[in-house]
Symmetry: D2
Subunit: 345 residues, 4 copies
Amino acid sequence: MLMAMLYGAKDLRLERGDDPVVGPGQVKIRFGAGGICGSDLSYYGKGRIGDFSLMQPLCLGHEVSGEVDEVGAGVTRVKKGDRVAINPNQPCRVCRTCKVGKGHICLAMNFYGSAALFPHIQGIFREVIVATEAQCFVVPQSCDFRIAAMAEPLAVALHAVRRAGSLVGKSVLVTGVGPIGSLLVLAAKRAGAAHIAVTDVADAALKRAEALGIDEAVNAVASPEKVEAWYANKGTFDVTFECSGNAAAIASAIQATASGGCVVQVGMLGVPTADIAVNRMVSREVDWLGAFRFDGEYGAAVHELASGAIDVSSLLTHSYKMSAANDAFLMAADRSQSMKVHLTF
Amino acid sequence: MLMAMLYGAKDLRLERGDDPVVGPGQVKIRFGAGGICGSDLSYYGKGRIGDFSLMQPLCLGHEVSGEVDEVGAGVTRVKKGDRVAINPNQPCRVCRTCKVGKGHICLAMNFYGSAALFPHIQGIFREVIVATEAQCFVVPQSCDFRIAAMAEPLAVALHAVRRAGSLVGKSVLVTGVGPIGSLLVLAAKRAGAAHIAVTDVADAALKRAEALGIDEAVNAVASPEKVEAWYANKGTFDVTFECSGNAAAIASAIQATASGGCVVQVGMLGVPTADIAVNRMVSREVDWLGAFRFDGEYGAAVHELASGAIDVSSLLTHSYKMSAANDAFLMAADRSQSMKVHLTF
Amino acid sequence: MLMAMLYGAKDLRLERGDDPVVGPGQVKIRFGAGGICGSDLSYYGKGRIGDFSLMQPLCLGHEVSGEVDEVGAGVTRVKKGDRVAINPNQPCRVCRTCKVGKGHICLAMNFYGSAALFPHIQGIFREVIVATEAQCFVVPQSCDFRIAAMAEPLAVALHAVRRAGSLVGKSVLVTGVGPIGSLLVLAAKRAGAAHIAVTDVADAALKRAEALGIDEAVNAVASPEKVEAWYANKGTFDVTFECSGNAAAIASAIQATASGGCVVQVGMLGVPTADIAVNRMVSREVDWLGAFRFDGEYGAAVHELASGAIDVSSLLTHSYKMSAANDAFLMAADRSQSMKVHLTF
Amino acid sequence: MLMAMLYGAKDLRLERGDDPVVGPGQVKIRFGAGGICGSDLSYYGKGRIGDFSLMQPLCLGHEVSGEVDEVGAGVTRVKKGDRVAINPNQPCRVCRTCKVGKGHICLAMNFYGSAALFPHIQGIFREVIVATEAQCFVVPQSCDFRIAAMAEPLAVALHAVRRAGSLVGKSVLVTGVGPIGSLLVLAAKRAGAAHIAVTDVADAALKRAEALGIDEAVNAVASPEKVEAWYANKGTFDVTFECSGNAAAIASAIQATASGGCVVQVGMLGVPTADIAVNRMVSREVDWLGAFRFDGEYGAAVHELASGAIDVSSLLTHSYKMSAANDAFLMAADRSQSMKVHLTF
């Protein structure tokens, strides 16, 4: 079987590996489609992400769907021929965080395609995948593999929405409308947000966001006065989803959020720290909530995609064969042209 | 000014009263439209509701909108000519329930058109109304008075939805699709419910509910096997909104709700008690939550209606002049013909 | 190794079984102490509990502690000689309830000593137990095995407390003060309850509860006027923990609970249904919450017991050798003499 | 009647004012005792706090108790001779924040002794006070006026605790143990915290905190290695109450808090911004929650103090006659000698 292995920055090689053996409770899956995520891009471009650097060749990929090829002993809910989305979360179940029911922030999470631990946890940009039955979520045969693969990033968005509490009738700001910010727009609309504004620094991204049916798109660099107007009278938005990871956007997000509201921080900061006006948060009781990965939201994401209730098709801008994986990564890095880029075999 | 006063069961008289004087912080409003609620109907039909009987003539009505005619000293957010929806909640602010921030279930609530206290709290089916500035919510001039008057029952629905927590991607059952059940359908759709089923015993109601865009409509008396199928494997729905107040429907709601789900009880029971299978609730941790009136949801309801985000127009089936109020009440009582009936001057 | 096997009502036999083999990720434990729970008592006395009847010999027991004898490959947090409490929860991880993060109400829970599934899940009243590493919680060597075994019922109490939200400064009622009700008293005190009242029908139980430091103990049968006084002005208690499973107590609990409060239902009803005054719940927004087993609270229970922060020693009334298990069960069934009865080898 | 008026930094004058008239729904109270708060101290020392400067003479004080002298028409729950604690919160009830039920962060809060609005809201360091009935909470005659006056700062602590959710069995860090931090220690103990650590930079404060029964007191400047040890393995404390308002302490608080935990920010920052390591919050889902003033917690605070359940007597270090108010303010500013300083007439 073929795997896309990263040996260092921009050094991605298609290699042949042994076909995996399927054990009890496990499922063997043929790769259908895999989305390139921001973390994949960072590993590809720089050989690292945040504090984690490549220490050995790493197979990237964690947004994946496929077709069931074989099931191990004891597997009852999935059968050969089923089309499945694969939940990449595999918490350890024994750390103190898992033991209090927060497995999605497990202290020793086994998450595909990551250099956080050594040996690295190999990812699933590979022809054949073995996963546990619990990781497999069946979708209809009519569901496009790329749509099914979107369950992972959509689950991230649904998790962030869940952290914010009810959005019905509320005004929402999304700062940064790349793939995750765009999915947040769709998820917030789905959750009943009454008014959605977005900011970005790229007009191309804002234009695509407008097509998703938002109320207001603002270029934060070109029109700072529009952003500042949101600060007046103790803030404007009930809930802000900060998806840019930009320090200025974070500071702005806190000011633009109204008394009693919250900022859900989804984006990872590109620099070590951000300057925060703490008293604005305290005196208005603006909560700042971290959102990381997802939990039960993966199943909800699969359902929303399979039923068409959340339609992500406009975000699927490009698709490449695995043999052209380098082109795929370059396209995914070009925000002016692409939104979500997928690989197939 | 004219008022519609109820003297006893089916004895409604149009009377002339003194024009009210507007004090500091108050607003005088000309009646625009008023919806007939189930409690109004019960007073009209039986001279009582639950434990409360008419002890003196009572002006009914609490779902009302109108036009501002005059504002008292110190009023700054509302001006003459504004079209407003009027929030009927007036908590006492001093009882222990108010003091812990739950004014909507105030132990001494001053709620329009109710015989719960004596002297009765007179309602607002009257030509001229005086309310506090805090009760008035401005809507656009283009907003139909009847739509604005729907803010009150829609706030009831939004409050019930808020009690249930996030609905995104969840399956929802609504038992009983009269006006409140229908608004729950619209509110649950707006809140991102993935699948909505409804039950009723009247085919006319089910037919109207289907037009609201639900997934499944079941006559609970004619097709009990469909309801029973929902009981299998520890329940089917994540959230059930029980709007019928029927004991059998309540028992059924608990069984149809899945492990870890909740039943939000909105309907008031027509008999003293219902038989409940307690262990089904305990072993599956199905929560049973009472939902009564509303709190901050009134403002959200006004916004949803004024923006058109929730479109209730298909529920507005009939409209009568106040002089034909008796006809209006008779029509409102006929579930096979009407949904929501309004009065105007 | 010896096991206590139940063959039918009151037919408990001490039998010899094969010593279990410890696999990877598993831990072999020598039995330290095991508490007799209400469900054990029901199986012993009637050969069944609720809908579940004995279909084959069943080893009872799920409140157990012991000493680690051997650890399997890959086990790192537990070592030979450690004293451990054993969490009996083993959710399936693949059912829809598990997949949304509610493993403690797993649809296919593998829970020790239960006839809910067939073949039955054998319990841990046995000389040697094999459990997973994740089930083992280390306690200090100085912690009495019986105290450690109380982690399971205390976790039930802490879970019920967590369901109720913050108790700080609140007034609490506990109906039924057997072992679980008594632990609820201790847990509610620990959580900052300002005032605790208890009801029971047995004076012996009330007397023991008074020794736990409560504010008010009422015999619900002998002094109904005291209970009824709690109904006035829309209820008295912010939170009620219903631990009796008695239909009259449940009806009373709802009436005694104040507007905006909640009843946490811990007791399982001994009859099919209870008559509930639904409108009292709706108009006061009294929530009725099921509490079943526990989740992350097991670890908290171990910590509270090991540190002595919650002192359960007064509840440990009797202890028997496994060879006298029949005497132990008879004593546990006699509420006038015993509170919690333990078995040891 | 006499009032303590501040004319500028350190220019406090005892002046005579007109006796206030008591209107309908109002209560006239003779001053019992009043605590000096950090905001009082800032106005006294610098003539300003944060962005708000003295624009006219200001009567300080908002932590006050007294004896009822006269009640206005319609007042039924308070009578002449009652000893009362006075809730200083008076939300406007009409702003959008009030309208969604969050009156304690009202956009136009009428809060005693504050220069936030102009004309300033005059405080209650005065011989005779007029308040509304809703502001008055009766305490037993045996309750010391100074204890009753502690209801206000204790309510701040209880509100912060409520924001953190259940503390039962959790480990808690309090950074900064002046009066508010010390009350947080007492409130967290009362709420069932399993382990409490505190940090401060003053050994005197740490010594007093130890007397409150904590588990660990660390001088953050003298023993940074102890603080840094808390950062290991993704943090140590389930909940941190940040009461210092020091930027370094805030940064440290976030690192010392465990995955899935929260930092409740109670202290106001003395400088415009703090440097925050955002990714530590995101990847561990550490929430940062602002806590400001209080809501229904005022009543709970009165109850806890009146019943003695929370014993604040060790915090009451000094008491001065109003005629020696300057001495009182100087003592309150000296953290090495005083904790909470009260004024009396």
